[in-house]
Symmetry: C2
Subunit: 390 residues, 2 copies
């Protein structure tokens, strides 16, 4: 990309547009405030977490072509905090010469999980075997003629978010329960670890990676309990994970952050699970633990500023705060004062007034010089705080 | 103080009032957003840095009795980010049962520098010798009858801020140039170091101190160039500084932060210079370097939440960004991209659109495992970035 001088971003009239006003946008706004960069946010909800702290909030549908076009008229650079946006509108804006990061080319590949998988195959990027189906009915045919066996993982091609659109299919009844439409059937990977690497890439091509993080799962419930930085894995495996993440980044040519979720197999192969072209849950630890947090880094990358140091000051562990089962209504963070008394503990409350089972309401970061100490405190946090209704 | 249960602060209708909407308030709002605590801000300027990111902004005069009373009607706890507020209104609110932190008793002592000095004397807290004068004319009398000799430091009793209201008086002409009114004449301390200790004290009396920081002055211009944490001083001197700061905190019975500025004399005595009952310039390094930054700590303290860890993750150095001489008008941060490329460097831009000579426009934090490396980078930062008009 040609190197041209950047505009003046700081306390100027430069206007950054952000599609999506959820918690990722909210945390991005801490950084635009720190740099005093003007922002304009689009979100469908009048109670979006990003509604305040931006300079201008517009309520509207991210999936509506005209809404996105109109929103962008007076922004200088447009970015996203969620992939489920109207890409046709973004392509139109790119055609008009508007700067859109991540580029729609990358967004197109990522937004459709079938396209994303084909992209890995085309670029010799290791990923779990899969078959693509235009309709669910084709899956049945494939099973009947022996092309596909239970169990497998079904993923909707479009608009899966926070675990929606992903199901383990063990028998025909599971299959029947699924929605129709384009999807993939993916082999179930017996992984040793689930890892993630955040790659940042600036408009002029400068690239850096964050340390490999590890998702620790609950032994019974198959849910990520802790995101741990650095991952407690062999140096060789970590290097391999970084290599694979960098290859995805280079091939997909994103600008901004790319969160690459990976499997470490029982034989220490590294397979790409999926990617997100934005700040990511697996990078929340960076606010307290890293020299440059992922939100500031995304801003630096899309504005073509020098990328910041990605290493950590201390070990960091992140625990998601999700709504407790059986609780729906006005949120109450039970025992939050107890965790505030624990060493190196920082709760982040996203600002959603209503809780419901499994809704992402916030997260807690635990930092410590000693990662095993951090891990112990993280467990105390997990056992203490509860997101309920009252 | 009696221990009673706190209200629910997080994503609730609890409303925190903040008097003052400058950069200290702006940085405090990062923390109220993080915890999703409702805020209401009062400031005279329609372009106050805290105008966005609070839930409600009211434009009005902090020194006006009725304005402050009216502002506070619907807030649950009231705090400040600047001392120059109408204390009579705060006393009235306290009488009405409103929670005001810092308490007006402490604010009264601090707001008037003559009162503040008498408070140190009454409580056997070491401080530079001084005389108090109701009118400037009394200084002349004192000089003529030999009670006072040149040179000395003149300080206005009321409403000095950012070096205003403080002058070195070497001869009669200097004295004539000063405004009339209540003031003190203080002996000039030949200090080895200027130090500061931030003490946090919660409503229920929990107390913690931050590490001692050191102000490094420019060899020629008598201006603080760097705030360095930890101070590069003997352990014994650091312990003494902490003791003195704690004594001031206990005697003044503040709630929230108390920044205690100290002199280390040539004979390693520790003398109190002055104090501020709020987040302070000497604590800005804590955003990047400390386990709990001073703004979050102030919020924890005034809301009677457990205090956070005050130790540092890494060494931190802070450089103020002040308007360059000869530049007045629309601000431009010259070479800011160059400092963004330096290791562990974070600029904070306060959001003031207009620069003028010596106006505080922002600050830069440099963090590093190695304090001498941080000091080198801080010097590069200082020599690179310039706040000019364009």
């Amino acid at each position: 990309m040609p190197v041209k001088e950047n505009p003046n971003y700081f306390s100027s009239n430069f206007n950054l547009g952000i599609l999506g006003g959820g918690q990722l946008g909210k945390m991005m706004l801490y950084e635009t405030r720190k740099f005093d960069i003007r922002t304009k946010v689009l979100d469908a909800s009048s109670e979006a977490p990003s509604k305040i702290a931006c300079n201008q909030f517009v309520q509207g549908d991210l999936m509506d072509y005209q809404t996105v076009l109109d929103f962008a008229t007076d922004v200088d650079v447009l970015t996203i905090e969620i992939e489920n946006v109207n890409v046709e509108a973004l392509e139109k804006l790119e055609d008009q010469g508007k700067t859109v990061y991540p580029p729609t080319k990358a967004l197109r590949i990522i937004q459709n999980k079938a396209k994303q998988k084909l992209f890995y195959v085309d670029n010799q990027i290791p990923t779990a075997d899969f078959s693509r189906f235009a309709y669910k009915s084709e899956i049945k045919d494939s099973i009947e003629n022996g092309g596909l066996q239970f169990p497998f993982i079904w993923k909707a091609a479009q608009f899966g978010y926070d675990g929606q659109g992903v199901k383990v299919v063990r028998k025909m009844e599971d299959l029947n329960a699924l929605p129709p439409g384009e999807c993939i059937a993916e082999e179930i990977i017996d992984f040793k670890n689930e890892l993630a690497v955040i790659v940042c890439r600036s408009a002029n091509g400068e690239i850096k990676t964050y340390p490999v993080v590890e998702m620790e799962f609950h032994p019974e419930a198959n849910q990520v309990e802790y995101v741990i930085c650095p991952a407690r894995i062999d140096e060789k495996v970590a290097e391999r994970a970084q290599e694979v993440a960098l290859k995805v980044s280079e091939k997909i040519e994103h600008v901004g952050l790319l969160a690459v979720e990976l499997f470490q197999t029982q034989t220490d192969e590294i397979l790409v699970n999926e990617v997100a072209p934005r700040p990511h849950n697996s990078g929340h630890y960076s606010i307290e633990a890293s020299y440059t947090n992922q939100f500031e880094q995304h801003i630096r990358a899309i504005l073509n500023l020098p990328l910041g140091e990605t290493k950590s000051k201390v070990a960091g562990i992140m625990v998601n705060l999700v709504g407790a089962e059986g609780h729906t209504g006005d949120v109450h963070y039970q025992n939050i004062e107890e965790i505030l008394a624990m060493e190196g503990v920082t709760p982040h409350i996203y600002g959603k007034k209503q809780t419901r089972p499994f809704r992402k309401m916030g997260h807690v970061t635990i930092v410590n010089q000693d990662i095993s100490k951090a891990r112990q405190i993280a467990q105390q946090v997990k056992e203490t705080i509860k997101v309920i209704s009252k």
